[in-house]
């Protein structure tokens, strides 16, 4: 029996198939019509049960999924599956970032999540990568190659972009600016993580965890070892698939 988890995020849609273990996954850009994209992903496939998470979860429950769970829960369940001793989950996604503290049993005890503002999210890094004309996949490495840091004060995506433009105009090296940007975002995320009172093991997931500079700075600021799953961006969808399996068992 195969279960599916569908994480419909602001930037990407992730589908995870689970059958006694992670079977397969797919990642697509969300685009303007996520329901249609999801339909294409699910086309011709049958699952025992589908659970949706992410911003589009309620869209999906009308036609595509049996149930919706919050991303907090999905990330918690996904991270616990990969690391049964996980007590803290940090997720830097496309449009939000969050931190959740888990009980020994894996229940969410406390969480923090950014509000409407995109500061400290993947979107922030995307916009800055564009301003620096560096691919989003290379931005972290680019920053790590800097020998010093140009501090960036603004965390607002719009203001920070203007700040970056003026730093470029001042002749600052794009690598040192990139490092400053990572430092700003890591400070913000670390503040959020501290608010939940992180307990090890700390799992860092979401697309933001693919960025090596953010991984290093966040770990340094928290003074904690961060565990990054092999595919950090599918943890939410994996959690949703596991919720699908668990609720099936209860029926």
């Amino acid at each position: 029996m195969t279960y599916a988890g569908l994480d419909i995020g602001s930037r990407t849609i992730v589908l995870v198939e689970f059958h006694e273990g992670l079977k397969d996954y797919a990642i697509l850009n969300t685009g303007p019509d996520p329901v249609h994209r999801c339909q294409r992903l699910l086309d011709g496939k049958t699952y025992q049960r589908v659970v949706a998470t992410g911003y589009g979860r309620h869209l999906a429950t009308t036609t595509l999924a049996h149930e919706a769970v919050s991303e907090i829960k999905a990330y918690a369940v996904g991270a616990r599956h990969l690391y049964p001793d996980c007590r803290t989950v940090v997720d830097v996604g496309g449009q939000d970032c969050k931190a959740a503290l888990l009980s020994e049993e894996g229940d969410v005890r406390k969480f923090e999540m950014n509000d409407r503002c995109a500061a400290g999210t993947g979107r922030f890094l995307e916009v800055m990568a564009r301003a620096l004309e560096v691919g989003i996949g290379e931005l972290g490495g680019h920053a790590l190659s800097a020998t010093r840091m140009t501090p960036v004060n603004s965390l607002c995506t719009v203001f920070a972009e203007s700040e970056v433009v003026s730093l470029i105009a001042r002749g600052e090296d794009s690598r040192t600016i990139a490092l400053g940007l990572h430092d700003a975002i890591a400070t913000r995320v670390a503040g959020m993580v501290r608010r939940v009172g992180p307990t090890e093991r700390v799992v860092f997931a979401g697309g933001g965890a693919l960025n090596p500079c953010l991984r290093r700075l966040l770990g340094q600021k928290l003074g904690l070892d961060l565990t990054v799953p092999e595919q950090p961006q599918i943890v939410g969808a994996l959690g949703a698939a596991l919720v699908a399996r668990a609720s099936r068992a209860r029926v």
Binding site: E71, I72, D107, K110, M113, D115, R116
Partner: protein
């Protein structure tokens, strides 16, 4: 609804803009309120009030004015309604709860001002609120810096009187506030030509006390599990308390409470007994601000109380027995008003105690701290609220927002996660 256009013209409303506002309301109201399951029958009256919100009630105010009475607008629970009633005037809480009037305000006020201030100001400059238009003057107060300075600008558009609310609950603060009440009495007498006697004030206080007592009865009915009334409906009733006729409103709330008490006796509720019970605490929710309750209750929770100026802070405390002299009554009213545990005071630990008491007494599963963006007093006090609740192992979700719908998705996200966490 009857044709009120000539009345609105007389009130100098911007008719086109006002039409746009009134066209939006019925669909919104229907979608939020009328689609709820198992509503108490007695809510029909409150539905009617909303249906006539810029009609019949405004006409009553105009009739009152035609017969020589005055109408006084207000924004805050610190302004004593009974003193206004004792002068033969009608107090009305002014419109301040919608994004609709915010763009008008932002042409004048700084954008980074709280939505409540912008909305109320926008209704005046945009001429879209018949209540402020009908009012002979408005009474402001100094409960926050934003409002305090806004009133100075509002005074350029409408007669505005500002009374001072102290920042500390000390004997000196009480003295100041009592003196403010004396000053307000003189102001009201000058405006109305009515002399406020001890007898008149006692009668007015009795009316307002009966209203508060009915609201307390409603509040107590929400202790039941399953809860007999939705948070949305209970909030609506409290919101209507600010502008409806005091005697009629009191009677209708008591009728509602009888129905609710019948439901409780039969263990009938509007939500399953295991629905997560939420206490909302923080900034006031002026009509038609139903955003947070709507998200919470759409997501399967039920709101069982509001620790708010559109909640317990409005009706919990009562004017104490006194010697019946005018001065004795004013002192008792001052004491009562200063028992309002608003974040404008420092320190304000009584509010923390209130939240803990409500959380325990109303069998609450989680507290949602509601904070209007740029409301610094409540935002900062939330830090203490969070600490106090954490010490009792009670979950808290902090929401900071305004009146726009742009963050509905983000709030829903956090609310869903919070409810998953607190669900028993």
């Amino acid at each position: 609804m009857a044709d009120y256009r000539s009345m609105w013209t007389e009130l100098d409303l911007d008719l086109d803009k006002h039409d746009a506002l009134l066209q939006a309301l019925p669909g919104m109201y229907e979608g939020i309120f009328l689609t709820q399951d198992n509503r108490p029958e007695a809510m029909a009256y409150f539905d009617f009030v909303i249906g006539e919100i810029h009609g019949l009630r405004v006409k009553e105010l105009m009739d009152h004015k035609a017969s020589g009475g005055k109408v006084v607008g207000l924004f805050c629970v610190f302004v004593p309604e009974d003193l206004i009633l004792a002068a033969g005037a009608i107090p009305v809480g002014l419109c301040a709860g919608t994004q609709f009037s915010v763009p008008d305000a932002e042409e004048v006020l700084p954008r980074n001002t709280c939505a409540l201030i912008k909305s109320s100001f926008g209704f005046k400059v945009g001429r879209t609120c018949p209540y402020v238009q009908a009012s002979d003057f408005v009474i402001g107060e100094t409960t926050c810096d934003g409002k305090k300075k806004m009133y100075e600008i509002l005074a350029e558009y409408h007669p505005t009187y500002v009374m001072e609310v102290p920042q500390k609950k000390t004997p000196l603060g009480r003295e100041l506030f009592l003196d403010e009440l004396r000053g307000l009495k003189v102001k009201l007498e000058a405006e109305t030509g009515v002399t406020i006697t001890g007898e008149r004030l006692a009668e007015a206080t009795a009316l307002v006390e009966a209203k508060r007592s009915a609201l307390r009865r409603l509040h107590n009915a929400r202790k039941a599990r399953p809860v007999p009334i939705s948070g949305l409906d209970a909030l609506l009733v409290t919101q209507i308390a600010f502008f409806d006729d005091v005697v009629r409103f009191t009677e209708k709330v008591n009728i509602l409470c009888e129905e609710l008490e019948g439901r409780i006796a039969r263990s009938e509720g509007v939500a399953p007994a295991d629905a997560p019970r939420i206490l909302v605490s923080g900034s006031p929710m002026a009509i038609p601000n139903w955003k947070l309750h709507r998200i919470l209750e759409d997501s399967g929770a039920v709101v069982v109380g509001e620790e708010s100026c559109t909640g317990t802070r409005y009706f919990t405390s009562a004017v104490a027995e006194n010697d019946g002299t005018l001065e004795g009554q004013l002192a008792a009213i001052a004491d009562r008003q200063l028992e309002t545990h608003c974040a404008c005071f420092t320190p304000n630990d009584e509010r923390i105690d209130d939240i803990l008491t409500l959380a325990a007494g109303w069998d609450v599963d989680g507290v949602v701290h509601y904070n209007l963006q740029f409301c610094h007093t409540f935002a900062n006090e939330a830090v203490k609220v969070e600490k106090a609740l954490a010490s009792k192992d009670a979950p808290l979700l902090r929401i900071e927002t305004d009146y726009s719908d742009e963050d509905m998705g983000q709030i829903r996200n956090r609310v869903d996660a919070f409810l998953e966490m607190v669900r028993r």
